[in-house]
Amino acid sequence: MHVSLRGITVDFGNLRAVDKVSLEANAGEIHAVVGENGAGKSTIMSVLYGSNTDFSGDILCNGKRVSWSSPRDAIKAGIGMVHQHFMLVGNLTVLENITLGNELINQFGFIKFNTIRANILNIISRYKIHIDLDELVDNLSVAQRQIVEIIKLLYRESMVLILDEPTAVLTPNEREIFFHSLRNFKAENKTIILITHKIDEVMDIADHVTVLRNGKLISSSHLNTTNKEKISQEIVGREIPRLNIKRGAYENKKILDVKDVIIKTNFNAKQAINFCIKKGEIIGIAGVSGNGQTELIETLIGIRRASDGEINLLDRNIINENTQTRRMMGISFVPQDRQRDGLALGASVWENACITKVNNKKFSWGSFLRKENMKAFSRSLIREFNIKVNGPDALVRTMSGGNMQKLVVARELSSQCPLIIIENPTWGIDIGSIAFIHQKIMDIKSAGVAILLVSNELDEITSLSDSAFVMYEGTLSKRISKGENFRELIGQHMLSGFNTYYSPTGISPDE
């Protein structure tokens, strides 16, 4: 099906999120839409999918003007979407999830689950997918959940597939299989719109690429009329700042030594975790999110109890200490979810900047606060980290995502702890802030801080860390040292549970 969007404009209050963007996607084509976070990619797709009806401009399907009042209309017209955050309901079964939105009912409104089941079984046997329809979605891996989302589209017989950052949850190997499936869908003459921020993927698979920046259309061209450098220029709109990596050697002094720790995860793995970080060393933990990284971090900072083993910080076992003590003893932590864990959005900048340092004599006198010193300290952080905000009394809520993250990083990096745990520090922020934060991380590395970097972005791990581990289903791989095949080796260790559910050639129809 040919879809086209003409002159789409979307306003969020005073903010123009999408500004007169037009886009054409043909049947049997993979159309990539690329841009930075906040460029308007997801917004414009929500227009096409009918979940945003407050816009101006036209949607055309096969040349006819259409209008949706809700996603239901778009679904009926053959448009399907897999959102970046899956729209699945955890404690419903796979069958119920697929049914939702396309319920086949009898005259009393009861759902004909038997008919639906038969239909779905048909699809999954035709495409050689293996999945248990009666399993709760909560019990599925991330990759399996994505398959459920795709079965949903197949069941609804969607002819236009909108995929929002589909590879973010996949290992490199799984990604290849997934791309196979996309090529198969393309051969079935489906229209595929792929939203991504990874240029390599575009070069791999797309036929046509549309670049958005700040809500505006920058370019739209066939892949063979453009190239990688040009696209990345267009995405950022300026030179990408280069990271100044002076990879100093680390010292042979163990800062953190984790011995035989058993972490409680949802996986059955009972394998002990062992690793150590030396002074001035960055250890990366790679892996698709949801493989136990959160549990590992929570165990290290003392929110989750480890059942066994030792966590030695500067040769003292801290396994029985609580978070407060561990922080005082020298662990600082940059959490991924800055809005919930990293910051108190309703509080001011100074209240956020000093929360981990109140017991410092400079900031308190007995039970009383020394607010002036706290504010002065916040001002110095704002200056040093180039945070754009009105001053220490401004509410954090009013800051942009990149500046919020800078504030969290500023607070944690300024704590002068010997060990810093950093979890996805650049998640969902602009390229400028990413470069800035990466630079700061390298700076404190040279200052001799031991760093544990947990990240889902393979590039972040490979460019920053000295050695890396891969976390998969609650266990840690063996140590992979930086060397020639660093990236490939990590990729290999992100073992794939994918093959079990897909055939090796991806979701392909049985000829």
Partner: protein, 304 residues
């Protein structure tokens, strides 16, 4: 001693004592599943109880009593929807306000319409009909428990089963479950979560209204100020405990009914009334404690 407990009144009072809580809890259950944190059941029941007496008195029949109780429940459900769903007020605050509104309105109207305070009873208040099943007459225990109960008792039992199937297999039931679990998923599948929640609130209003009617015009035929006396809160606790599943909800409520009934018996044996009236709340706390140790599934989000 045992015989003192297990006299016929013990068994027949279980149904009488549980029906209002069961009806209210069913309403709360639908809200819980739809993701509406409605802890205003107490206010709903109270207004329902008053409206039942009013309708029964004015309309000169129990039917009008039940209908007006339903209208009372729906009225508060509409208030809840307006301020929570449309104006996006915090559900806890809205609930607190509605509990006060139910208390205030029922007492105010009692005094301004009937010009009495405290208790209102009148021969014109018609009671809900009871149903006699002749085939149960000879089955001693079943006869005591199930026979000659108010019509709403049978409705409540049927509703437990109906709710079970409705939630599991009906389209709207599926939507209600999704609305409570992940409303973005519902929106993305093309249904409007606000409408689904509104529907859930209406159902809740109807059932809580009936709970009120059962309280005021089923056995006693009178209205007492604040006569719900915390039953709405017990219903809230039960809904939380059973995580919104109708069948476990039913058995939990039976447990409460047995305790209630037992404490009435004990009161007969000379224990002060205040102590026996306190029992359901103590049991609620104990069951909550027990449940958390047994790791019953109930929303961990509600811990603080």
């Amino acid at each position: 001693m045992i015989e003192d407990f297990l006299d016929p009144e013990f068994f027949s009072s279980i149904a009488r004592l549980t029906t209002p809580i069961l009806l209210a809890a069913l309403g709360g259950l639908i809200c819980h599943r739809a993701g509406v944190f409605n802890i205003a059941l107490e206010g709903f029941i109270l207004l329902g109880a008053f409206m039942a007496v009013l309708g029964s008195y004015i309309g000169d029949s129990a039917f009008w009593g039940a209908l007006s109780a339903i209208l009372g429940g729906i009225f508060l459900a509409l208030v809840f929807s307006e301020f929570h769903l449309r104006r996006r007020g915090d559900p806890i605050v809205v609930s607190i306000a509605i509990n006060l509104l139910g208390l205030g309105l029922s007492t105010y109207l009692l005094r301004s319409i009937f010009d009495v305070s405290g208790v209102f009873s009148h021969p014109n208040i018609h009671k809900l009909p009871t149903i006699n099943w002749p085939f149960l007459d000879s089955l001693w225990l079943l006869d005591l428990i199930f026979n000659d109960q108010s019509i709403l008792f049978y409705l409540a039992i049927l509703s437990v089963i109906a709710f079970h199937y409705f939630l599991k297999y009906h389209k709207i039931g599926l939507w209600i479950r999704v609305a409570g679990e992940n409303q973005e998923a519902l929106r993305s599948s093309g249904s409007n979560p606000v409408q689904v929640k509104f529907l859930a609130l209406l159902i809740c209003g109807i059932f809580c209204g009936l709970a009120g009617a059962q309280l005021s015009i089923s056995n006693v035929g009178l209205f007492v100020e604040n006569m719900s006396a915390g039953r709405g809160w017990i219903a809230v606790v039960v809904v939380l405990l059973c995580a919104g599943r109708p069948i476990p909800l039913f058995f939990l409520i039976i447990l409460f009914g047995v305790v209630d009934s037992l404490s009435l018996r004990i009161q007969g044996l000379g224990l002060p009334q205040q102590i026996t009236e306190m029992m359901p709340y103590i049991v609620s706390i104990l069951v909550l404690v027990f449940a958390s140790f047994r790791r019953f599934r109930f929303s961990s989000k509600t811990h603080l």
